[in-house]
């Protein structure tokens, strides 16, 4: 027998439901528009649901840009960036959290202060470096400049500091090297934080527009956001077409997020019972 919902729980669900719809509204509207023709979108007041849903916009996206290749490129680059960030950030954070060396705090603050440098200020030097390395139009050019992250290092350092110092002491006494301690103790314990860094890194790389546009000139090396821009008409915006493109680009990341969330929750609760 199911118990009836208590009023408080029901209220909470209602509130959550409303908030969920509000937050998802732009995405849902994009989904709805992607099934509408241009004149339907233009009617006033704007319709919420398509009268005669059709896939014309999707067909038009497939016909006008190589979206499959763009998705593949974005995935390769974003995955590479995530792996790179996890490696560099966890090593750096480990040093800042566990190792004692002279000037550690100063170095950490220098690290943090790079967060304050606007991205626009570094783009030209970055471009010149990539160009002189001959990495224009290449995956390494798209990925390498983003493989180190001050924000991620900061986040992981804070997570690592939560790990009891005693654990480190006993590991050292048992003769574990730093690398082994990091691999067998720190990483498993800090999994939620690593997950956060990974998802953040993935999404911010996936959503990049200007850098990929800047350093690629071949269609085959371009990424999804450049593709979306290609769908835009300078003079008449075809919303249906653009929304179809947006949905096609957003769905894979959403799927990834849903899968990743499982991991995150498992990470959060693993070992919670034993304490």
């Amino acid at each position: 027998m199911r118990r009836p919902l208590r009023p408080r729980t029901a209220g909470a669900y209602a509130l959550l439901g409303v908030t969920a719809v509000l937050i998802a509204f732009p995405l849902l509207l994009a989904l709805s528009y992607s099934f509408m023709g241009a004149s339907e979108i233009a009617t006033f007041p704007p319709p919420l649901f398509p009268k005669a849903p059709n896939l014309d916009n999707y067909a038009a996206v497939l016909a006008s840009i190589p979206i499959g290749r763009y998705l593949l490129n974005s995935f390769i680059v974003s995955t590479a960036v995530v792996i790179g960030q996890l490696l560099t950030a966890s090593f750096a954070a480990y040093a800042f959290a566990f190792l004692v060396f002279r000037g550690r705090n100063l170095l950490f603050f220098v690290f943090l202060s790079t967060l304050m440098i606007p991205w626009e200020a570094t783009i030209i030097p970055n471009y010149m470096t990539i160009r002189s390395l001959g990495w224009l139009d290449s995956y390494q050019g798209l990925a390498v400049p983003f493989m180190a992250t001050a924000f991620g290092t900061f986040l992981l350092r804070q997570a690592f500091l939560q790990i009891p110092r005693e654990l480190w002491d006993s590991a050292r006494i048992d003769g574990a090297s730093s690398l082994r301690f990091l691999r067998t103790m720190v990483i498993p314990l800090a999994r939620p934080a690593l997950g956060t860094v990974a998802i953040y890194g993935f999404l911010s790389t996936y959503n990049q527009y200007f850098w990929p546009l800047l350093i690629t000139n071949q269609t085959l090396m371009r990424t999804t956001q450049v593709g979306i821009a290609q769908l835009r008409d300078e003079e008449t915006l075809r919303w249906g077409l653009i929304m179809a493109g947006v949905i096609m680009v957003a769905v894979p990341t959403l799927a990834l997020l849903v899968l990743g969330q499982r991991q995150l929750i498992r990470g959060l609760t693993a070992g919670a019972v034993k304490g």
Binding site: R131, F210, L214, Q230, D233
Partner: protein
């Protein structure tokens, strides 16, 4: 748009240094000198491959690729590779970065208001050099279009896609309220009177249709100044010499703002904000019965709107000043100096191909831009297009009937993108009642003049 403007402004500033180092302008002198010395020799063999950066996406992008394919098939010397580089602003930002490290292509498409900036970069081979060298005949070219891209009467770049601004109106709504759909309003007062009649309220007093709904778009203001026969900047709108001041805080500028504001206050104008697409959508949806926009949107409206779309002359003051007229907009092609001479040569070959009447007619039919050459109108695709969209004739007649002078040639400023953004802010503050029209004009002009000063200092010839 705002965002990209700001991004572009940041780049322009960062790179004005690069531009300043890049060397002093291209041939400053008077109006009669022959420029051919700046072009590569006539016997230089065109390069086997050149790259062309452009900002045409969607339908226009497809049309552009068609031209490139046509050129590549028409001859075997040169292969042109067209690369899409985002919006006009994105493209210019990327070009700046590339110039700094010598990675620019041979040919680039830059928007109308990037003209002075390209000139000051010192990185361009003026189109006039090739024209003088080959005695290339431009008599057949649309004067309004070609004049726009001249500085001191030398053509710096080749116009490629051209449009102008017209009045769009809802013929069905005109008939409904007893206005003559064959006689659209022409002057400020006529537009306001028609707008009053076209405005419709429902039982609860809510306005369901406004008479006139222009977007707050700097380009439209520039056009209104031109039909008012007012300069935007000094020194012949920056065409006789480098502009040092914006001068639109005059009686004409004030009259435009007062007319606009009165319409809003009266409840018969609609304000979509700084939002060109919003204004277009409102027109398509029947929410505003008239508005002003680029001719390039014509086909979109005819295909989307569920009513008969009419076109008319761009609004002008009641006195209809005879020196007033419309400015063209769009983008042009620049041949870059940083590439080897054989690539410059190949780029010129391509430009000549793109300017042939047949290609121009096809380009018009595929995009809705004007052909640059008059003889293109005799070609099949252009004739078919004019039959299908007779409203387009308004546009071309408007630009042909405009007198050619410094007002209608349009302003050239190094900081034109920023000036346009500032103008929009100025219009908005008047329409929202934050400032009176004269005060808003004055403060915008003061601010822009400071920007012009620092730009001019950084780009001393």
């Amino acid at each position: 748009m705002e965002g990209t403007m700001r991004k572009f402004a940041a780049f322009a500033l960062a790179l004005s240094v690069v531009a300043a180092c890049g060397g002093g302008g291209t041939g400053g002198g008077g109006g009669t000198t022959d420029e051919s010395a700046q072009a590569p020799g006539k016997d230089v063999k065109p390069a086997a491959k050149i790259v062309w950066w452009h900002a045409m996406s969607g339908v226009n992008g497809d049309a552009l690729n068609k031209i490139v394919d046509g050129f590549n098939k028409s001859q075997s010397n040169t292969k042109v590779e067209a690369v899409f580089q985002g919006t006009y602003d994105d493209l210019l930002a990327k070009l700046n970065t590339a110039l700094a490290s010598n990675a620019a292509p041979a040919l680039v498409q830059v928007y109308d208001i990037g003209q002075r900036y390209m000139y000051d970069s010192g990185q361009v081979v003026p189109m006039q050099a090739f024209i003088d060298r080959d005695k290339f005949d431009t008599a057949d070219f649309e004067p309004a279009v070609i004049n726009y891209y001249k500085y001191q009467d030398k053509l710096q770049s080749m116009p490629f896609n051209a449009s102008s601004a017209i009045l769009y109106f809802n013929k069905d709504a005109f008939k409904e309220v007893g206005l003559d759909p064959t006689k659209p309003p022409q002057t400020f007062t006529e537009v306001a009177d028609a707008a009053k009649k076209l405005t419709k309220k429902d039982a609860s007093g809510q306005t369901v249709r406004f008479g006139f709904g222009p977007s707050i778009y700097g380009w439209l203001f520039e056009q209104l100044l031109a039909t008012s026969a007012s300069p935007y900047a000094d020194n012949g709108n920056g065409r006789d010499n480098r502009a040092t001041k914006v001068v639109y805080n005059n009686a004409q500028g004030k009259a435009i703002l007062d007319w606009w504001k009165a319409g809003l206050d009266g409840g018969y104008f609609y304000n979509p904000g700084i939002d060109n697409n919003g204004a277009a959508n409102a027109f398509d949806a029947g929410k505003s019965a008239m508005y002003i926009e680029s001719t390039a949107r014509l086909r979109g409206h005819i295909n989307t709107a569920k009513f008969e779309v009419g076109t008319g002359l761009y609004p002008r003051p009641d006195a209809k000043p005879k020196d007033g007229g419309n400015i063209i907009g769009g983008a042009s092609l620049y041949i870059m100096k940083s590439r080897p001479v054989d690539e410059q040569q190949a780029a010129w070959e391509f430009v000549k191909y793109a300017m042939t009447p047949a290609v121009q007619a096809q380009w018009q039919a595929d995009t809705g831009y004007y052909p640059i050459r008059k003889s293109a109108y005799n070609e099949g695709p252009s004739k078919d297009w004019s039959t299908k969209y007779p409203q387009f004739l308004t546009a071309i007649n408007e630009i042909r009937d405009s007198p050619q002078n410094r007002f209608t040639n349009g302003a050239v400023l190094g900081v034109m993108p920023q000036a346009r953004a500032r103008t929009q802010k100025m219009i908005e503050s008047v329409l929202l009642g934050k400032e009176t029209s004269q005060a808003a004009l004055d403060s915008a002009v003061t601010e822009m003049n400071t920007q012009i000063d620092s730009y001019n200092k950084a780009n001393k010839p």
